[in-house]
């Protein structure tokens, strides 16, 4: 099952790929992000980060509270360059 279970839909990452990276020594969500682009697509980790955290808990024996979440980056939702460039208040 796990090899076909998608965790990060934007970047097309499976549970198996995430488990493999954890086995390779990447032990935090930030490192998984750097390694695999986890949570770096248009949804900005909304659907995948909590799932990846669960995988990390299962693999490392840590509790969810012990896992530090990646920094949330603005904008909260995708905004066009044209809108952001506007001087209209």
């Amino acid at each position: 099952m796990a090899d076909k279970t998608l965790i990060c839909r934007c970047e097309d990452l499976t549970q198996k790929e995430i488990e493999q990276a954890i086995d390779d020594g990447y032990s935090t969500l930030d490192e998984l992000k750097c390694r695999l682009r986890l949570g770096m697509g248009p949804c900005q980790g909304r659907s995948c980060i909590s799932l990846a955290r669960r995988v990390l808990c299962q693999k490392t024996g840590k509790t969810q509270d012990e896992i530090i979440l990646p920094t949330s980056r603005p904008p909260v939702v995708p905004v066009s360059l044209g809108t952001l460039a506007s001087d209209k208040k």
Binding site: T28, C34, R73, P74, P75, L81, G82, L84, A85
Partner: protein
């Protein structure tokens, strides 16, 4: 918790691209290497940078370092046996007025003498290279272009160096902080960390924006200042251009990544130094405004993320490398002023040869900390971001 090594030939502080590349090269030359990283590899400037590689510089030293660095990047995948994501789509540098043009001509002449393939483009030729640009909107009268400039993936590269270093016997410790450095008779004796003490006579300070703090421990004042720099990235769109577009006047740089995102940065007005990490609206507004002036077609593309990282900036925008008589065995590898990634292959090669064989070429002397005692240092003017 993994126990730390008790002894090492060289202790490297900082797990960015420079620290990891040094660890690899020193280990390959049979040095016992320990690398200490206070967070995880690439957590500082390396993992936050634009990762462009540019050979078009105004000072001969930087141009030479960059040209030789690109040659190393070109064969690095083969050497490390891992992907580094090299893309050579060129750098196009906008020229805005006659004064710019005179500097560009001077730079191109110097760069050509070093054997670089670089040329001056007319406005029409700019569009042949990057069709989405609006030359009028950019206010460009021309550009310089070097086709072998480009981009390398900073994560893949650093991880490839780290893996190769470990394979050659280097020990890398993440989440390990340096609390003290002991010295005796102007020599380094040991490094004290959160995981124990390591006896060593050689320490490399490759701590990026935190290098100043590391150097403070041994009482050597660095003139470096940390500056927060910001980048934004858009959603993925179809491939439109492979070139990095930059302007020294506007400070902007942007390119399209292999996966399709447009990624770029620009300095915000009235930038101040300090350890600031919050992203600003000033940046995202100013960047969007300038980017859509350069390439109006992008106005419908969505921005999905902005983030910050530090430039470790020196007085002349050039790195600080090597040791001084004040403390032997304390080797600086910092002050890259926003160009640490692209210069890393050559810088770490020079430092490795210095540490292992005692080679001290002119370029290392010209980038020594002691140059600031002399008031006639030549400032690098070709800086963006």
């Amino acid at each position: 918790m993994n126990k730390i090594e008790k002894k090492a030939d060289v202790v490297i502080i900082g797990g960015g691209v420079n620290g990891c590349s040094l660890a690899y090269q020193l280990a390959k030359k049979n040095k016992k290497v320990v690398l200490l990283e206070k967070s995880y590899l690439c957590s500082g400037a390396t993992g936050r940078c634009g990762a462009g590689i540019r050979q078009q510089w105004s000072t001969k030293e930087n141009a030479e370092l960059a040209i030789n660095s690109v040659k190393i990047f070109e064969r690095l995948e083969k050497e490390l046996g891992a992907e580094i994501g090299l893309r050579q789509g060129g750098y196009l540098i906008a020229v805005h007025d006659q004064k710019d043009m005179r500097q560009a001509e001077k730079n191109v002449l110097m760069q050509k003498n070093l054997g670089l393939d670089v040329s001056i483009l007319s406005p029409e030729e700019i569009l042949n290279i990057v069709p989405i640009l609006d030359v009028k909107g950019m206010k460009a009268i021309g550009a310089t272009f070097c086709p072998t400039d480009g981009h390398v993936d900073p994560f893949k590269t650093t991880h490839a160096y780290a893996k190769a270093a470990e394979k050659n016997g280097a020990k890398l410790y993440n989440f390990t902080t340096v609390t003290d450095i002991k010295t005796k008779n102007k020599r380094v004796e040991s490094v004290i960390t959160s995981k124990g003490t390591i006896k060593t006579n050689t320490v490399v300070n490759a701590a990026g924006a935190w290098s100043k703090k590391i150097s403070d421990i041994v009482g050597i004042k660095l003139p470096n200042k940390p500056f927060r720099k910001e980048i934004l990235v858009t959603e993925r769109v179809k491939p439109m251009f492979k070139t990095m577009v930059i302007s020294f006047k506007d400070g902007i740089y942007f390119s399209q990544q292999d996966e399709g995102q447009i990624l770029g940065g620009i300095p915000i007005p009235n930038e101040q130094s300090g350890y600031l990490t919050n992203p600003t609206f000033d940046f995202i507004h100013h960047m969007s405004k300038t980017l859509t002036r350069y390439a109006p077609i992008l106005k419908h593309v969505n921005v999905i993320r902005q983030w910050t990282g530090y430039y470790d900036v020196t007085l002349d925008a050039r790195p600080i490398l090597g040791e001084t008589d004040k403390l032997k065995g304390f080797i600086q590898c910092n002050g890259f002023s926003g160009h640490g990634f692209m210069l890393s292959p050559m810088v770490t090669k020079l430092l490795t040869e210095y540490i292992v064989d005692g080679k001290y070429p002119e370029i290392l002397e010209s980038l020594n900390l002691d140059r600031f005692k002399d008031k006639t240092t030549v400032k690098e003017v070709s800086v963006v971001g």
